[in-house]
């Protein structure tokens, strides 16, 4: 637990100018305090996950970061610039993909991207080429001249991503980009986001599908009830321990051996009877598996029950209750 740094300490000191930073932002809608004194930082070249339950204030924070919503208090800086004073500069550095797809259905993918390029005032002679590049990058070049309404949800999602990337922003804000995607498209999205981070962009991904974020995110900011609850890197999360699920052909002997080893465990109500237990590190897992096998317990499966970030998330949920 000591490895997990509480954010207030982490946010102390001068923030670097790259990426996107929110300092103590608050926003309320009438009596509802959607976001209260939230701190957030996404550095350039990294994927930062924004994690929290529904209604935690993720979308509100993203809207403020996207310079669509003004914070009641606090400040936001994009590459060291204040959106209120340097509107155009900030906008040309920001790419935003909303959770609602919002596609002009009668326009073709190519027309949509061309319009967006014009709205971002890209030089006119380069637009056609830029649009073709982006269509290729999100693999929509075959469907480029079809009206957007015939695209599947996953294709529209890719189009929405291309739309957010058309002006080559340095900060990319993605609100639930993986929702509604099939597993293949999710893997694709993951690869693409890693590429974008490798190009030096600050990528912010909000999601509550946590298992994926383990693979994508370098760090995670946990929010709940409008507040930043915790900020940790994926390594820190992994180091904080992980829940493992174990099944054996003889559940009774497994339970007996675990009790003998003094490991706390609990029975899970899955399809197959299994037990789950907390292990602090990969080394612990290695030792336990060896002990079980050497003791003659017929282990069928021995695997992490949840992602590292999911573990933190569930723990936060537990603390809340």
């Amino acid at each position: 637990m000591a490895m997990i740094s509480e954010l207030p300490e982490a946010a102390d000191g001068p923030e670097p100018d790259d990426g996107i930073t929110a300092r103590a932002v608050s926003r309320s809608f009438g009596a509802v305090h959607a976001v209260e004194h939230m701190d957030f930082h996404a550095p350039a070249g990294k994927v930062t996950a924004l994690i929290g339950p529904n209604g935690a204030g993720k979308t509100t924070l993203l809207l403020m970061l996207a310079s669509l919503l003004a914070p009641d208090e606090g400040s936001i800086s994009v590459g060291g610039l204040d959106p209120r004073r340097h509107r155009a500069e900030v906008r040309s550095r920001l790419g935003w993909m909303p959770d609602t797809l919002g596609v002009w259905e009668s326009l073709t993918a190519r027309e949509i991207l061309t319009q967006m390029a014009r709205f971002y005032r890209l030089p006119a002679q380069g637009i056609a080429q830029r649009v073709s590049e982006m269509l290729e990058r999100v693999r929509l070049d075959d469907l480029a001249d079809q009206p957007a309404r015939v695209l599947s949800r996953g294709q529209q999602q890719r189009l929405s991503l291309a739309r957010a990337l058309i002006h080559d922003p340095s900060v990319l804000l993605l609100d639930e980009p993986a929702s509604g995607l099939d597993p293949g498209s999710r893997v694709e999205l993951r690869i693409m986001l890693r590429q974008l981070a490798a190009e030096g962009k600050a990528v912010v991904v909000s999601s509550h599908v946590l298992s994926e974020l383990d693979e994508i995110a370098d760090a995670a900011v946990f929010v709940n009830k409008g507040r930043t609850v915790r900020h940790q890197t994926t390594e820190e999360a992994a180091a904080a321990g992980r829940r493992y699920a174990v099944t054996a052909s003889d559940a009774a002997s497994l339970a007996a051996k675990l009790t003998e080893l003094g490991v706390a465990f609990r029975h899970e109500d899955g399809r197959r009877p299994s037990v789950s237990l907390m292990l602090a590190s990969d080394g612990d897992a290695e030792r336990l598996l060896r002990d079980l096998v050497l003791a003659g317990v017929g282990v069928n499966s021995f695997a992490p029950a949840s992602g590292a970030l999911e573990e933190t998330y569930m723990r936060l949920e537990g603390e809340r209750q």
Partner: protein, 377 residues
């Protein structure tokens, strides 16, 4: 990495100089592309064309029928008329204005909140476009779509010219005023759609606003007149004896004599501005018609002229219309040379401008206040 940096410089370099008008044009292009690809718009246009044609034909047929019927009674003195042209023109004009007032809200009143509901407004708001560019773009696109309906009805107004009695000038002025009225309704619709949360609500409110202009102004004027009880100084009017078959100057019909006395009168000029805001009054008052002061006896005048004269009569108030007000003889037929339509159109434009300004305020980003129950994206 170097590629990225280079691209960014292009982007930032393009932001400063980019003009206001090209941004508006880009929004108009986006809007019109979508409108031109919806089949409903073409169907509405076709129905409109057929309906206007039908009204034109019916007017012409009924005029013909009445001519035939009157021909069987030669004793009846036929008022001088130049042909069916002016009648067709007036009926078609009234019809086109009515339907333009009905179509324009449908084309404009979901322009902004329809996009908000579809999630495409925020996509545009997050770009370098300014709220004014988005709003003007939406307005011009809605206006252009509505003007297509006017263009479709032009042939039938031209028929009025072809059948005589009307000049091309009449058609031009009429079309110009119709276009302006449609523009006012579109601006009201776009402004309301930026303010209201739901498309259905803003369309209904826009229809109510149009009904307020077309019918509400008449009711308000009628009821308001009752509140304008005032007095006027006038003396006694002495009417000449009725002389049925005398041809001669019909005016003045009376002479004024005696001391000036306070008499009660409706000061209609105080509420005439309500009447002036009526789209029919604005269009009718702007269309030129001959000055009939010197004419005598009974003349058949068209509805356009009647509306215009009626409104100008109200605007003149008792000072200009009450018999023997201030001891002066008032002409029976008003040769009101002060047109009323600039006042009416000005008031309409002020209303439209107010709504557009409020709409612009609600489109500003980063947004400080949001309408109750709306999500920005």
């Amino acid at each position: 990495m170097s590629h990225t940096t280079e691209n960014r410089q292009h982007t930032v370099g393009g932001t400063g100089a980019g003009g206001y008008v090209p941004g508006v044009r880009d929004v108009v292009v986006l809007e019109l592309k979508q409108r031109l690809r919806s089949r409903g718009w073409y169907i509405m246009l076709a129905i409109w064309f057929v309906l206007t044609g039908l009204v034109t034909w019916l007017t012409w047929a009924s005029w013909n029928a009445s001519q035939t019927a009157q021909g069987e009674f030669p004793a009846y003195v036929q008022p001088s008329q130049s042909g069916p042209g002016s009648m067709i023109f007036e009926v078609v004009l009234a019809f086109v204005l009515l339907f333009a007032l009905l179509v324009a809200p449908a084309l404009s009143a979901n322009a902004v909140n329809g996009d908000r509901a579809g999630g495409t407004l925020a996509i545009v708001q997050v770009t370098l476009l300014q709220p004014g560019q988005i709003l003007w773009g939406k307005f011009f696109a809605a206006w252009a779509a509505a003007l297509a309906f006017l263009v479709a009805s032009t042939p039938f107004l031209v028929i009025g010219v072809a059948l005589g009695g009307m000049t091309p000038g009449h058609v031009l002025v009429a079309l110009l005023m119709l276009a302006l009225e449609v523009g006012v309704v579109c601006a009201i619709g776009v402004g309301i759609s930026a303010l209201a949360g739901r498309p259905l609500f803003s369309i209904v409110v826009t229809y109510l606003a149009v009904a307020g202009l077309a019918v509400g102004t008449l009711i308000a004027f009628g009821l308001g007149t009752g509140l304008t009880q005032g007095t006027i100084m006038a003396n006694q009017a002495q009417y000449r004896a009725y002389e049925p078959l005398v041809n001669g100057p019909a005016e003045p019909e009376y002479t004024c004599s005696g001391p000036l006395q306070e008499q009660s009168a409706m000061r209609t000029e105080r509420v005439a501005w309500l009447l002036a805001m009526n789209p029919y009054v604005v269009v009718a008052d702007a269309i030129p018609y001959p000055d009939r002061t010197g004419q005598q006896g009974f003349t058949s005048v068209g509805a356009i002229e009647n509306i215009s004269q009626g409104a100008r009569y109200a605007m003149a108030g008792p000072e200009g219309t009450y018999p023997c007000a201030n001891g002066e003889v008032k002409p029976r037929y008003l040769a009101q040379s002060t047109p009323l339509w600039p006042l009416g159109l000005g008031l309409q434009l002020m209303l439209a401008a107010l709504l557009m300004w409020l709409g612009w305020r609600s489109l500003r980003t980063p947004a400080h206040r949001l309408a109750r129950g709306t999500r920005i994206a």
